[in-house]
């Protein structure tokens, strides 16, 4: 037995996994997913989060009810109603600062990841997951599942798929059921109050109205089997859960 032949086996084999974005342009790097960890990106995201949280507190008197219901440390999905661009920023603000790099709001790839400036904002500030809602929805769902398999990742999803145009609630799409049926991943229903009044679709600057985030009890759909009807059922169940958090008494 020569020493050179078995050199690699003498020591337990090391695993090298070079960065996957080595030869990519900046735009490609920002549009790609999963993203490689970049310390500069983390620093920028944390700074941006501090600014956004201060803005929410001071300008919108942002309030979170039921924060203790978030199972921080585990993987989970937050689902919420979608009224405004403020929704994502509010939901991320509910997550402890040290966990935001592992919180991924699903963002429409065709809208939020077009060109350099918007991709930079969506990836650095929002930490968005580029969701291909038209052609390759299934592929993006596989990506989401992969993500949730690792402990401590948070997925933020708006199952309505788009922002409401008139403030009325939309219908939850069955994709969310496909994602969570038969898994033990907790789903946290959230309802954000006041975002439509502040920044509806089409407006370009938020009004200083109060925002309240209501966080509900987590649900699990581990005993559901796959099937179109099941997905539909889960989606409407979550829809009820989210909109039941809406306070009935108008102030």
């Amino acid at each position: 037995m020569t020493s050179t032949e078995n050199e690699a086996e003498d020591v337990r084999e090391w695993q090298y996994e070079p960065a996957k974005d080595q030869n990519q342009s900046l735009t490609e790097l920002l549009q790609g997913f999963p993203r490689e960890p970049h310390l500069w990106m983390y620093a920028l995201r944390t700074s941006a989060a501090l600014i956004i949280r201060s803005w929410m507190k001071l300008y919108h008197r942002f309030e979170i009810r039921g924060k203790e219901r978030l199972p921080i440390g585990k993987s989970f999905i937050m689902v919420a109603n979608h009224q405004s661009h403020l929704d994502t920023l509010c939901l991320v603000s509910a997550i402890p600062l040290r966990n935001i790099h592992r919180a991924f709001p699903a963002a429409a790839a065709d809208y939020f990841f077009k060109g350099l400036p918007s991709s930079a904002f969506s990836s650095i500030v929002v930490n968005g997951l580029p969701f291909k809602r038209q052609a390759r929805g299934a592929e993006s769902l596989v990506l989401c599942r992969e993500l949730l398999r690792n402990k401590g990742n948070i997925l933020i999803i708006f199952p309505e798929g788009t922002r409401t145009t008139d403030g009325s609630p939309g219908v939850f799409k069955p994709g969310i059921g496909l994602l969570c049926s038969g898994t033990d991943i907790p789903i946290i229903p959230c309802y954000l109050e006041g975002a439509y009044e502040s920044l509806p679709k089409g407006a370009w600057f938020p009004k200083p109205s109060k925002l309240i985030l209501h966080i509900g009890e987590s649900r699990v759909y581990d005993d559901n089997d796959a099937g179109r009807e099941t997905f539909q059922h889960i989606a409407s169940d979550l829809e009820d859960a989210v909109f039941s958090l809406k306070p009935t008494l108008l102030k």
Binding site: W14, P18, A19, E36, L39
Partner: protein
């Protein structure tokens, strides 16, 4: 006081002269119908790097140390991204802290001697850094696979941080311009000579398992050129005698090529062609600095042995 140090001025003239001549040669080759696209890109890289280097040196000791510190961090970043260490921020941040500490020590005054640069502590940094890095698994309460990360971090710090840091420490010397410019110039010329001699006379492989394109002929040719350099550039260090001149040539001629080959061996093991893609036509920072990393400490201690830094 003069605007430009005479040694720096001479090197600037030599650099401009060489770049102009090389430009004309490239132009000639192009007109002769040869494909010079890749060499052209390398040349364009030099057109940017050479002035950047000269201006930083001209700006003085502090910008030079800070600039080299930045290069050191970029070099380590490349190493971390090529090995996968970049996914473990405890380790990378520790090494970055180590590199920043090196910069601080280079900029400080030695509290005992009052000289620029805290020599003793600079030389002792590996002790503290290795102690810090082997402690990381304990702090994180994690054992599995950590030895690889610890080892990679130590190599990264010692190589990209500490060994390369000797170059920045040389900026504290009274003869800083001569030493630094000689190293930059001779090391790069050594690379070019190895490439040229290899292309012209290359027959025998030098180290086929490490870097398949390097040849014995190229290596010997580069050594011959490097041995002449200290005499041609004697104005950089007029106080050098025969032994120092011989050693200066040998350090660049042998050390420079070893530096190149060591990075090649690392790249081969990792299975990457270039360490990065920061400089078009040159690859990454480490592909450009590999020889300097190796020669800087050897030259530094040679100078310090014979003449002290100040």
């Amino acid at each position: 006081m003069e605007m430009v140090d005479p040694v720096l001025g001479r090197y600037a003239l030599v650099a401009i002269g060489l770049l102009v001549v090389a430009g004309f040669i490239l132009l000639g080759m192009r007109l002769a119908g040869k494909n010079v696209a890749s060499i052209w890109q390398t040349y364009r890289g030099w057109l940017i790097m050479a002035p950047l280097l000269l201006i930083t040196l001209w700006a003085g000791r502090v910008p030079t140390i800070l600039g080299l510190g930045l290069l050191s961090m970029l070099g380590f970043r490349e190493f971390a991204r090529a090995t996968g260490l970049h996914r473990h921020w405890w380790y990378t941040v520790s090494v970055y802290i180590g590199i920043v500490s090196l910069c601080v020590l280079e900029l400080m005054t030695d509290p005992r001697t009052g000289m620029a640069g805290w020599y003793g502590m600079f030389m002792a940094t590996p002790v503290f850094m290795i102690a810090l890095l082997v402690t990381v698994p304990v702090l994180r309460n994690k054992a599995e696979g950590q030895l690889q990360l610890v080892s990679l971090s130590i190599v990264g710090f010692i190589y990209m941080g500490w060994m390369f840091g000797h170059l920045a420490f040389l900026a504290n010397s009274t003869n800083a311009y001569g030493y630094l410019l000689y190293l930059f110039f001779a090391v790069q010329l050594n690379d070019v000579a190895a490439f040229t001699f290899g292309k012209l006379f290359g027959r025998h492989k030098l180290r086929n398992n490490v870097s398949p394109n390097k040849t014995l002929e190229g290596s010997l040719g580069a050594l011959a050129v490097s041995m002449c350099m200290p005499w041609l550039l004697h104005f950089s260090f007029p106080h050098f005698g025969l032994i120092e001149l011989l050693l200066s040539g040998a350090i660049v001629g042998i050390g420079g090529q070893l530096g190149d080959l060591t990075i090649s061996a690392i790249k081969r093991d990792l299975g990457v062609k270039d360490m990065g893609s920061l400089i078009p036509g040159h690859g990454g920072i480490l592909d450009r600095l590999d020889s300097l990393i190796f020669t800087a400490p050897l030259f530094f201690h040679m100078v310090r042995w014979f003449h002290d830094l100040y």
